[in-house]
Amino acid sequence: MDKFSVFSARLVEKDELFTSGHRACQGCAEALAVRLVMKALGRNTIVAMATGCMEIISSPLPTTAWQVPWIHVAFENSSAVISGCESGMKAMMRKGKLPAKKINFVAMGGDGATADIGMGQLSGAMERGHDMIYVCYDNEAYMNTGIQRSSATPWGASTTTSPAGKISKGQFTQKKDMPKIAIAHNIPYVATACPSFPFDLMEKVEKAAAIEGPAYLHILSVCPTGWRIPSEEAIKYGRLAVNTCVFPLYEYEYGKYNLTYRPHPILPVKEYIQGQGRFRHLTPEDIDSIQERTRTEYEKLLKLSEEG
């Protein structure tokens, strides 16, 4: 946060590497996250992207929103594809077939691509230690295919495959903790971010790019369409997710936890939950239980960051 302040927004890269004209819904914060990530990465970047909203909206043949080399192969394998790009170029540079040069190798996927179908491939890529950045854009469901639940959908959210009903509260499992899974791979850098905090986000991307070896970024990306909120409120809900500690902003660097933003005051989760159509059916007691869980999870994180 010291490098960027609210006053230095003008220092942000003006180059748009993820250009306008793509077909994301109005107010999509996932598209905003991609744009910010690309600003921080710069042109010396190769992107491998998973099937999902961001791939579909950015690449309808014969057009593209991408100003950097970009490849999409399938839904679950962006981490393996980028592994191949990185290793292939490494070999060719070593053998003098290509001039040596530092390139950011970046894989991207949604929460479904990351926490569900591509989990094994991501684990493999992190374990092998490729010099890559994996970015998960977490909008908490399979949005591209019509708002189905993923393992990153939070408890209580109504989706098209975890619908709230007479005997259902919606999603009945707790959100899978992807950043912790990444941390368990002992990689040098893991961070959470949210485009509602753009400078924090871009700084983390820059850090991830500078570090050698695998880095994992988990970006909460509000989806007005799937969360059933007005399209102009994506930024507001991102801020609320962070300020209620539902989605804390932290990083994990070479074994040390660091909270990069401490909300003060911490807002009640009710302010985040109410107003979102996907939680409309929840009772005050349900919201209390979310509040309780949010508090204990945040305390665990505080403790970890105090331990350093």
Partner: protein, 392 residues
Amino acid sequence: MAKERKGIEVSLAVAEAVGQADCDLISAYPITPQTHIVEHLSEMVANAHLDAEFVPVESEHSAMSVCCGAAAVGARTFTSTSSQGLALMAEIFFITSAMRLPVVMALANRSLSAPLSIWNDHTDTMMVRDGGWIHVFVENGQEAYDHVFWAFRVAEDPAVRLPVALNIDGFIMTHMIEPVDFEDDELIKRYVPEYRMEKRLDPDNPVSMGCFAMPEIYSETQMVRENALVESYATCIKAWDEWAALTGRQYHPVETYRADDAEYCIVTMGSLGETAMAAVDELREQGELVGVIKIRLWRPFPFDDLFKAVAGKDTLIVLDRAISFGGPGGPVALELRSALCNSPKAPVVVDYVAGLASRDVTVEDFKSIILGGKAKAAGGEIAGFTFYGLRG
């Protein structure tokens, strides 16, 4: 490596050839009977005998995905698998050819589960027949070694840019020790020179690969794909001719043995061709006018070569090593029937399925298949297929 004849396990000869071709990246996952190929490659990398990245992935799906990424940055890329591994990577197999990524794969052919079987037949490769790759079949160790270079040469040719599957019968070939004439590195370098992919992932010249297509453009993308595969035929031939000029070993899309004056022929693919030839020799002594037709190039399908080979024959007896369940026969017979159905005086096609999961097909078996097929043709029993040598 200098020119030299070696007695070597075919898998190791394939791996050595990948090394001689100066491959940049190998990514694979172990599965019998392909394992010796990738074990030997990782050993070559570990001993700095080959300067390449060996990416030890956690599944075949990832192996093919890694290969896609590597081929997209312009690296010379190799993988190898069998059976269940191919089934797991099938999703990406189809995409590799659609994206025109020149990956070379040694496919050690093995049956598909269930029941689990590690043995050899062609059920795995037939599953991906329509995957848009160039498919070639080889018959012995020398052919396997030679075709590694041919595969890179064809795949990377700017006029082709398609992946190539080198089908090698599992165990029956991969695990045999055979005499192989190795060529010297200089000759190999001339045949498969360093290559530059003109449209690759490069920050200085950004391109988007693997875009999404609406119905208005999807069909056109498939037409381009079809044309590319059909037109790759010319390069396949050119690459064989160039190899023959360098080494004296000439290959053809369809090869024949004692077929010129034959009235009827047995048709095979892969390593059983040699057994078929022995059977034909014996039958010739008994006065049978029989020959062998071997299909080497499976995709793009060599229609004209086939028409030439079958001209004047009245019957083709096909030895299929896979089944199209619930359909009219094995895949090779189906292919021949449909390729020939519009030609005047098309030979009758009698289909046998045999040699599943490495069950022996001996010279005696071939003789009884050939004579049995001839009798069936005479009796008009030509529909469907016959399971040869079933128990009870």
